[in-house]
Amino acid sequence: MSEFFRLVGWMTWRRLAELFRYRMNLVWGVLSPLMWSAAFLLLVPLYSTMEMSSAIGTADYGAYLLLGLSMISFQSVALWGGSNNFNWELTTGLIDYSFSSPVSKYAYVESVIISDALVSLVLYDAPFLAVAFYLAARVLSLSGIAYGMTAYVLSILVLSQIGVTFSALTLLYKNVSNLFEFFNMAFQFLTGMIIPLQVLPGFVRVASVFVPLTFGIDLSRHYVLSSSTVFPVPLEWAGLLLQLIGLGLTSLLVFGFVESRARKNGFQYVRVRLARRGQAHWLTRSPRESALEQRDWPNEGKHTD
């Protein structure tokens, strides 16, 4: 566990060192959420209608929306932080160095994600959360914040498990960026992140159960704003914990499988083969691409299946 915290600490340090080196970018990065959250303060009353209030059980629709919106950047880093990192490591060859180090590779990729999420929270999402809390000041309580943030953090942990799986997929298929678009839309519309699930058709609510993040967002809103929940509260907690355990185990298994496969075949040739119409197909490359890859990575291992 100390290894995990050391990794998270140093990766966060690295991310901040990189960010602070380019002041203009950093200043703009910090100013941008501040400006948007300020603008939000002005726009919120327009959205807070009676119809919406009765659907979600709170009049603080602005805060309700902000708590969901702040999840967008976490969703992005949690799902793609590890994947992007491996993509870069494969391109530069750093992966050989990091995988020949004695740290746990699962802890390594999980730390990449958590450190990205921490940096995102401190630098970019804090203003949105601050405005959400300000708007909800009327109903805010310390215990509400504590429970709400617990659900929030658990959601990020659930997401990071999917992120670990996507990182493994990056090792297998090298470029999985189009998956992002699919999951991005699913996460934004099926979790009630932007449009409350309460006002959407019943089948969307059923589908939302299978999307990690739904329970986390709903619970954090419920505890912070006293809003109504889509499903009974105990059921949502149980769902969140089950997702964490289930996806955690899945990501451990998938990552372990890919890691052992990488040790068998070399990182550039870690792939799975699918039998299709009785014929084996490599999923990632045409023969021409394989030939080009041979040229670029002449001494790299070749697949052994």
């Binding site: 050391r6 990794l7 140093w10 990766m11 340090w13 690295r14 060192a17 990189e18 080196r21 380019y22 490591e89 391109t91 530069t92 060859g93 750093l94 050989d96 160095y97 990091s98 995988f99 020949s100 180090s101 004695p102 740290v103 390594y108 990488a262 040790r263 068998k264 075949n265 070399g266 990182f267 040739y269 490599w282 023969p287 394989s290 030939a291 041979q294 002449p298 001494n299 790299e300 291992g301 070749k302 697949h303 052994t304 299946d305």
Partner: protein, 315 residues
């Protein structure tokens, strides 16, 4: 085993995609503690595969290997604690927006269990030893050779007992390459470090390596000291200041090989016998020709060795 830093016994590795090929075919050798061991061979000979297996990045299909007394398959994490690694794509493989110092600090503390103070001290020490004065420059602003220098420092900063380096002198200018070689020799002498490196630089192999191995298509064709390898060139070398083709010199007595370029290097059993005939060749007779006679270099031996594998006496 006590003196062995690396022990390799019958390692085999085969790939099947995109084209079936044997990368290593029953490789065995021993590297003693405190030795610099060179891996030589043409591209695709299996050098990088071997380094990757010993660094626990790849699993062998057959055979066993131990690094620092630990089995590379069964005790991979113990092997990883004992080794340093500088791979083939090394000069890209660091964080470009961090300084050289920050990179060294991050990699050693986060990934190699070094205490921060120790890492800071060690970075200074390495930079001093290698004559590197740009620790506080951003990695992206360093030249290719300077980046490579940082990567070499990264492989040494945590005080490993065995270091694997895949073409360490790549991108280094001759002076920097010499400084690196001198520093490695010092570490070997003073700290008992064991270094295994692949190289195509014969000067480096000759200067640095106590032992070397020559691989071809995954088979070991030679293991021993560089001097012994050089002797396998056995011939004397006549260098002529112009290009001669193989068919022009085939009647030269004792000819065992030829390397043609702007000048020509002729490998002969006895230079005294070959010279009179050489000077009578139509291309040279009656002309002012610059000639040099010398013993074979390691590079000559390499070329002869590699060419011999192509079933030809002519290199």
């Amino acid at each position: 085993m006590e003196e062995a830093a690396v022990e390799v016994d019958g390692i085999k590795k085969r790939y099947t995609v995109p084209v079936p090929s044997t990368a290593l075919d029953g490789v065995s050798f021993t590297v003693r503690r405190g030795e610099v061991f060179g891996l030589l061979g043409e591209n695709g000979a299996g050098k990088s595969t071997l380094i990757r297996i010993l660094s626990t990045l790849l699993l062998p299909d057959e055979g066993e290997a131990w690094v620092a007394g630990h089995d590379v398959v069964k005790e991979a994490s113990l092997v990883r604690r004992s080794i340093g690694y500088a791979g083939q794509d090394s000069e890209k493989s660091a964080y470009w927006r961090l300084t050289a110092r920050q990179n060294l600090l991050y990699f050693s503390v986060a990934l190699r269990h070094v205490r921060r103070e120790e890492a800071e001290e060690r970075a200074e020490e390495l930079a001093k030893g290698l004559g590197f004065s740009k620790l506080d420059r951003e990695f992206s602003s360093l030249s290719g050779g300077e980046k490579q220098m940082v990567i070499i420092m990264r492989s040494l900063i945590h005080g490993p007992s065995v270091v694997f380096m895949d073409e360490p002198s790549k991108s280094l200018d001759p002076l920097a390459a010499r400084r690196v070689r001198e520093y490695i020799k010092r570490l070997v002498r003073e700290e008992g470090l064991t270094v295994m490196l692949t190289t195509h630089n014969m000067e480096e192999a000759e200067d640095l390596c106590n032992q070397m191995i020559f691989l071809e298509r995954g088979r070991v064709l030679f293991v021993g000291p560089p001097a012994e390898f050089k002797e396998m060139g056995e011939a004397e070398v006549i260098t002529v200041d112009r290009r001669l083709d193989e068919d022009e010199v085939q009647l030269l007595p004792g000819l065992v090989g030829i390397r043609s370029g702007a000048s020509t290097r002729l490998f002969v059993k006895n230079a005294a016998e070959a010279l009179p005939v050489l000077l009578q060749l139509p291309k040279l007779a009656g002309k002012a020709v610059k000639l040099r006679v010398e013993g074979p270099t390691l590079e000559d031996a390499y070329f002869r060795f590699a060419a011999g594998l192509r079933e030809s006496q002519v290199v």
